[in-house]
Symmetry: C2
Subunit: 320 residues, 2 copies
């Protein structure tokens, strides 16, 4: 991977992204991997600061992520949650017993005055992770989902209401005044390739792009920007991406993903099920491979495909 | 129990006290029971506010207290502790997974600006407890143990070092500026009887007595003050009471307990094993019964003995 020694930088949020990050880490090693993570879903639960997307990436890289659930720690128990429920506390956001250790540690580091960037790095180190995990911003950005049943936080919409209410629009409170976390803009500028994970373009990648400066950095970077489509055969692989794209006026298709990232995307990696599909924008190269990640081998294979694309693009840039 | 309708008020700390409180609650019902609890052992662990003695009383009254351990919740698991240890956090103070719910709740209520008194009452209510549990003070009082290996917090001395270091002296930081929690002085003044639990007189009852006003209230109350000896056959039933009494210049005997409480004690309840023993102070009535509480029946029986003593004393006061 000598041509990629400045590394691959992934923008991610949610479950699919965490899986791909794990595959890239297995393929490249952690030292050549940077991850910029959505924090628009962050919440305070039982007084603890929870960053669901950072947590998923951390557990994926520590090889602890639950395979059956897609969030939290494999084989975790829920004794504390059960007791909190008995004490009358809200129990819809499920924190596992082992999982609590991460949130207790984050909450204490933040209370000591450390930034989310520093806190995230310290926790990653404690888990033995060598890849660099960066929050999109150290400033608070809160994704709010306006539905026909009122405005909800993202976790209220996604977890508590199981994305049942019909979405009208989405906004990111605080985004306009947020600044990218230290290392984010430089990372995009110096990366060998930028990968947009197969994440929800509205509420996983959308908040990252809403932080002033990040979208421009993606437009200006010399690195190829490669997205993996979260939409396969006209529907989201998991979660509410389809509903949210519709609400944003985007078609639920590869065309919709291409439109969402039109101003900076070089390559769109789509699933083999969509072979034959096209996108209108001729500047975007459309490639097909198996993108559904059920096993560790699936993750590794998709990661290797992306690395090959990145090296090929890189070579073209180098050769001119 | 009509003669006791102003209730029994217990001063307590530690394991033996929690057991007796449970026995009294079974005998009297919660409505006629008040408990003033030592908070000198309180600590912050993983950013959570822990009040070990209040917790033990709360769990005892909720019938959740672990019988094998004497602290924490019966049958609790320690998954979070295990993960904290892996993350490099201090793990000598063992918080169970179900136990965490109480500490998370307390920490959040305190952060909202509630006092420890209000927080303790709110948690007791959530556990369905009708007895009134009062911290000795809403102000911070910290028990420090000066040993031949340096000065330690009480939990460092008791739990981390397993009360192995030799004790030179004990002090209660903040006690001189602390005020009794709301209800403490009025409770002592209006109680039908005050019971000093079979707790360590130096580090369980000592901090309560060090809060200005409480010792005087015990001297002045019309209620009989009845102590149960934590010393049986010249040694502490459990824990470091013997070492701490020696360091304070007290004999490790009934005489030592009588001396510790000489200025306010009316009755000393001692164990049957000590039948025949005397105390120098002729103002203190010495009574013998089985005081070792192994089973729920033991707790109830000792409680009933104390209630009978209290009613007898009360009758004498009433009759004149």
């Amino acid at each position: 991977v000598t041509a990629l020694d400045s590394g691959i930088l992934v923008l991610t949020g949610g479950t699919g992204g965490a899986k791909l990050v794990r595959g890239l880490e297995r393929a490249l090693g952690g030292a050549a991997l940077g991850v910029i993570v959505n924090t628009g879903d962050d919440l305070t639960c039982w007084g603890l600061r929870v960053s669901p997307d950072i947590d998923s990436v951390t557990y994926a890289l520590a090889d602890l992520l639950s395979r059956e659930r897609g969030w939290g720690i494999e084989g975790d128990t829920f004794q504390c949650l059960d007791q909190m429920r008995r004490l009358g506390a809200p129990a819809w956001f499920q924190l596992g017993d082992r999982d609590l250790a991460l949130h207790l540690t984050r909450t204490e580091l933040l209370r000591e005055g450390k930034t989310l960037t520093e806190t995230t790095a310290e926790i990653a180190k404690a888990f033995g992770i060598s890849a660099r995990i960066l929050p999109m911003s150290d400033d608070a950005v809160e994704t709010r989902v306006l539905t026909t049943e009122g405005e909800l936080s993202f976790q209220e919409y996604f977890v508590r209401e199981r994305f049942r209410p019909q979405v009208k629009s989405v906004r990111f409170i605080g985004a306009e005044n947020a600044t990218p976390a230290p290392g984010v803009l430089a990372g995009i500028a110096s990366a060998a390739a930028v990968v947009i994970a197969p994440s929800n373009p509205i509420t996983s990648i959308g908040p990252i792009l809403a932080v002033p400066g990040i979208r421009d950095a993606l437009r200006w970077t010399d690195a190829p920007v490669i997205a993996v489509s979260p939409i396969v055969a006209g529907a989201a692989v998991s979660g509410p991406a389809g509903d949210l794209m519709k609400a944003a006026g985007l078609p639920v298709s590869l065309e919709g993903i291409a439109l969402a990232y039109a101003d900076f995307l070089d390559v769109l990696v789509a699933d083999s099920q969509d072979v034959g599909a096209h996108v209108s924008d001729s500047q975007i190269e459309l490639l097909f491979t198996d993108t559904i990640m059920r096993t560790d081998d699936d993750k590794l294979r998709l990661a290797q495909f992306i690395i090959a694309v990145a090296m090929d693009r890189h070579r073209k840039v180098m050769v001119g």
